[in-house]
């Protein structure tokens, strides 16, 4: 097995709040291998975006460690991080907010080259043109400003900027969530091609289960900043082990009326990250919780090779929720 591009251990992040702290990320560990896409799914407040900001060190973690490309960057200074950012990139959800409105697309594409590549102006212009072509932007776009482009085109610009310096890892934080369905498909196809060509590793953050299933090799399900389950994408979607994952997947609406829904009811509301309950965070809403579930944090248990979930009931195989009745 090759060395991971990214190795995260016991990551913890707290945001200070008026009385106490928001426990956004609680003891999260994972690796991403070269050329791999790891999907990070969870509902709002699950800490998925915070993890994206932490591993790119746009935030400094409260605890734990982050190693990128063999180098510990947990406490790395801005000066140390700067050259490294050529290889560690992030694409955000909102391309309108991510691109400087006063720069032309051409300049926006040259900017990362200016920062990281030793090229003269002519080389940079040529490279920007090549990048635009690579992400299938029309050449005319280079002279335009962000407000003149559509959301899908702008997201292509963001991706082109991220890949400009041949990164090893790109974090994609909901890269297609603000786009229409057909435009979204085009962006996902582009990411797929880029990965096949260059072997970039990707951390794909999304709340959209269908998209994550399509693009990811492995998937981590987060609940309140803690990993509930992780497995190969096919395993996770075929046989979810954690009651939360089972609930989450059952609530998804497949865009096909021929697929029957079989929904697990969820009771109650998600606990506040300001006051997390002891033990398993899902215990209060879990239909099969035992008294022991509220006592201690459940350990990650193996369900099958490469498939782990943090649920006590996996130990004796009683972790599956009763099959719900299909809705009419």
């Amino acid at each position: 097995m090759t060395a991971p591009v990214l190795s995260v251990r016991n990551l913890v992040h707290r945001f200070p709040a008026t009385n106490g702290a928001v426990h956004a990320v609680n003891d999260v560990s994972f690796d991403i291998a070269p050329g791999e896409t790891l999907g990070l799914v969870g509902e709002s407040g699950s800490g998925k975006s915070t993890i994206g900001l932490l591993v790119t060190r746009l935030l400094s973690p409260t605890g734990g460690s982050i190693a990128f490309d063999g180098e510990d960057i947990t406490r790395a200074s801005a000066a140390t991080l700067r050259p490294l950012r050529a290889r560690l990139q992030i694409v955000f959800q909102d391309p309108w907010g991510a691109l400087n409105p006063r720069m032309t697309i051409g300049r926006l594409l040259e900017e990362p080259l200016l920062l990281h590549a030793r090229q003269n102006a002519a080389e940079r212009t040529a490279e920007a043109r090549r990048l635009a072509d690579r992400v299938r932007l029309p050449e005319a776009a280079l002279a335009r400003y962000p407000h003149e482009l559509s959301g899908g085109q702008l997201q292509r610009v963001s991706i082109a900027r991220a890949i400009a310096n041949r990164p090893k890892l790109v974090v994609l934080d909901e890269p297609t969530s603000s786009l229409d369905l057909s435009v979204r498909a085009g962006i996902l196809q582009l990411l797929d091609e880029l990965q096949r060509e260059t072997g970039i590793a990707m951390l794909f953050i999304s709340h959209d289960l269908e998209t994550v299933r399509l693009v990811s090799h492995r998937v981590i399900v987060l609940y309140l900043g803690r990993i509930a389950e992780q497995a190969a994408a096919a395993q996770l979607f075929a046989s979810p082990a954690h009651p939360y994952t089972q609930t989450l997947l059952s609530a998804h609406l497949p865009p096909d009326p021929a697929v029957p829904l079989a929904r697990h009811e969820v009771v109650g509301e998600i606990p506040s990250p300001l006051r997390l309950p002891p033990g398993c965070f899902f215990a209060g809403r879990c239909p099969i919780a035992l008294p022991a579930c509220t006592q201690a944090t459940p350990a990650m248990l193996a369900v099958e090779p490469g498939h782990h979930a943090a649920c006590l009931r996996i130990a004796d195989g009683s972790n599956l929720l009763a099959q719900p009745e299909g809705t009419p």
Partner: protein, 325 residues
Amino acid sequence: MTLLEVDDLHVEFAARGLDNRVRVASALNGVSFKVEAGEVLGLVGETGAGKSLTALAAMGLLRPPARIPRGAIRFEGRPLIGLPDSAMARIRGRRMTMIVQSPLTSLDPLKRIGDQLIRMQRVHGSASRAEARAKAEAMLAAVRIPDPKRRMQAWPHELSGGMAQRVLIAMALVNDPALVIADEPTTGLDVTVQAQVLDTLRDLVRERGLGALVITHDLGVVAHYCQRVAVMFAGRIVEDGPVREVFARPAHPYTQALIASTPGRIAQLGWTVTGGTPPDLYNLPEGCLYRDRCLRAAPACLVAPPRREIGPAHGAACHFAGEAA
């Protein structure tokens, strides 16, 4: 019984450009559909297709610079276009109501939930305060808000997104309307919450025999909560029919592309879809508006295609609808 009937509706916006010339955006270009009592019609399409605009037009909420140069909207057989505001006010909020997308900005932040539900009834009817209060509480219970008596006292900012959306549903249904229009009722909610809210809405619509128009860009919502679907593109309905029928045998190339670009289909069939931008509403092309993006476009498409019937209550506005690809 037909509740809402929209017939060849056109809406345009006139504005002066920087060069001081008047530019006209043709936002709706001949929208026609019906909502029958007891049915849920899904209206899907991408951003800018005119879904929300259609809803606003039906609710009589268009204001200049929007105008309706052509078309008709009838509610319970009564023409709405040109109806004086006072008459429209007796329909809107009472017989025909709306649930909007962003629940937390749609509630009055300075009024308690209960008072908003009471006000909604008192503005539109003659219920006494006590009656309105009792009904408000019952309505909160009906949308499955736990402990409704206590929640009556809650402020909007104390509610989660899902709870706030339930309150909006309660507001929309408290006056016993015949038709409810839900504009992206669950966009922005988490999946588990979305499922709960949609279940609540569907059950209430069913129990009360209402008609509903659900506007969404999410094909999953259409697939599982609507009986009929109308697909919009560039201000026109390009296809309509029973949900199962349209998903099984989409006839318009746009509908086909839309369904083929869902991740599940991509996983099965590979990357087949090329997306694109919608046409410029200031300068619409002749003929079929989907022509520029359509893989099947032919010279015939320079003439606007009429709706062609391809099955029982299933039609598509394409010259080639129903023919094998």
